[in-house]
Symmetry: C2
C-alpha cells in the first residue's frame, strides 16, 4: 500500500485517463466494425472510404496511449498491480489497433467486391461475424473498465461461435469456387475478409486474457476451445 | 544521469538479460522460418510437426520477457530512454510471437498441401519469401542489439521486395485456380500461406520501427513504401 493518499489518487487519475483513451479507441473500432458489417452487404464505397480514413485516428490513439503509459510509469513509478494495469493498457491498445487494421483491409477489398458478382449468401455470414465481433469488443471493454473476470471469460468463450461461422463459410466459399471459375476472384476476397474477421475475434480474446490476468494474476489455464479448423480443411474438386 | 553508478550498472545488467531473452526468442523464430522454407518444398510432415511444437517455446519466452519487464520496471524504476528500452522489448517480443504463430500456421497447412498436387513453381516463391524474412529477422535483431538505426532502416525498406514477390504470387495462384478447379484447394492454402509470410515481413518492419524510435526518439516520418496490393487485385475469369 502506498502511504501517501495524494500520490495514490494521482495515479488513479492517470490510470483513468489511460483507460478513457483505450475506451475511446474501442468506440472507434466498434464503429469500424459496424461500418464493416454494412459495407460488406451494401458495397457502399463512400462508407468504405470513411472506414479506411477513420483508421488513422485509431492509430493515433494507440501512439497517444503508448506515450502516456511511458510518462505515467516514469512519473508515478507504479508497482505490482498498478504497473500491470498500466502495461495492460498497452496490450489492449495494440489488439484494438490490429482489429482496426483488419477492418480497414475489409473496406479496401470492398472496392474489388463492388466490381464482381455477388456469390450466394456468403456476405451475410461475414456481416454476422462482424456484428458478433463488434458486440464482443463492446463487452470486453466493459469488462476491462469494471475488471469483470466472468464477463471477460464469457467473451473469451464466445469466440468459438465466430470460428464456427468462419469454418462453414470457408467450405461454402471453396465449393462456390469449384463450381464456377467466375466465382474465384470474389470468393478469394471474401475468404481473406472472413479470415480477417476471425482474426479480429482472436484479438478480442487476447483482450479478455489481459483482463483475466489483471484480476487473477494468472493467464487462463486451459487453452481456449479453438474452433478455427480452416488451416487443415481439404475440399476436393469434383469432376465437372 | 543517474548519480549512483552501481544502480546504473544493475539496470544495464537487467536490460542485457531482457535483450538476451529477446535474441533467444528471435533465434527460435529464425529456425522456424528456416524450417518453413524447407517444409513448403519437401512437405516433410515430421519437420512440420517439429516447427509446430517449437512454437510453445517461443510463446513461453514471450511470457518470460513480459514478467521480467514488469519486475525490472518495479525494481529499478527506469526513466526516459531506459524505460523506453525496456518497453521496446515487450513490443519486439510481441512481434516475434506473431511471426512464430504465422510459421506454425504454415506448418499446419503443409498437412493439407501434402495431400494435393503440386501446382507450378508457387511453393518456390513462398520458400524465397520465407528465406528473405528469415534474413530480415536476423538483421533486425542485430540492429536491435547494436541500436543501429541505419541497419534497421535497411530492413524496413527491404520488406517491399517481399511484398512484390507476394503480389506476383497472388496473381499467379489466382490464374492457376481459374485454369483448373483441381488447383483451387492447394492454391487457396498457398495464398493464405503467402499472405502469412507477407504479414511476417510486416512484423519485422514493426521491430525496425521500434529500433528507429529507440535511437532517434521518433517513429519513421514517411510511410513505408507498401508493396502489397493484393487487397485490391482483380483477376478476371476467362471463358474456358
Amino acid at each position: 500500500m502506498n502511504e501517501n493518499p495524494h500520490i495514490v489518487s494521482a495515479f488513479d487519475k492517470d490510470l483513468r485517463q489511460i483507460e478513457n483513451l483505450v475506451v475511446t479507441m474501442g468506440g472507434l473500432v466498434e464503429q469500424q466494425l459496424e461500418q464493416a458489417a454494412e459495407v460488406i452487404i451494401s458495397r457502399d464505397l463512400e462508407l468504405a472510404d470513411q472506414l479506411i480514413a477513420s483508421d488513422d485516428e485509431v492509430d493515433k490513439l494507440e501512439i497517444e496511449i503508448d506515450s502516456l503509459v511511458v510518462r505515467i510509469i516514469a512519473l508515478r513509478q507504479p508497482k505490482a498491480q498498478d504497473l500491470r494495469s498500466v502495461l495492460a493498457a498497452l496490450k489492449v491498445a495494440a489488439d484494438l489497433e490490429r482489429i482496426g487494421d483488419y477492418a480497414k483491409n475489409l473496406a479496401k477489398r470492398t472496392h474489388v467486391l463492388a466490381q464482381v458478382p455477388i456469390v450466394g449468401d456468403s456476405a451475410k455470414s461475414v456481416r454476422r461475424m462482424c456484428k458478433m465481433v463488434r458486440q464482443m469488443v463492446k463487452d470486453v471493454l466493459d469488462a476491462y473498465l469494471t475488471r469483470d473476470e466472468a464477463a471477460a471469460n464469457e467473451v473469451w468463450l464466445r469466440d468459438e461461435e465466430v470460428d464456427q461461422i468462419h469454418n462453414n463459410l470457408f467450405r461454402a466459399l471453396l465449393t462456390y469456387m469449384l463450381e464456377d471459375p467466375r466465382n474465384i476472384t470474389p470468393c478469394m476476397h471474401l475468404l481473406f475478409i472472413a479470415k480477417n474477421v476471425e482474426r479480429m475475434g482472436d484479438h478480442t480474446t487476447s483482450i479478455a486474457e489481459q483482463i483475466q490476468f489483471l484480476v487473477s494474476g494468472e493467464m487462463p489455464e486451459e487453452d481456449r476451445p479453438k474452433g478455427d479448423v480452416t488451416s487443415t480443411t481439404l475440399v476436393e474438386a469434383k469432376a465437372r
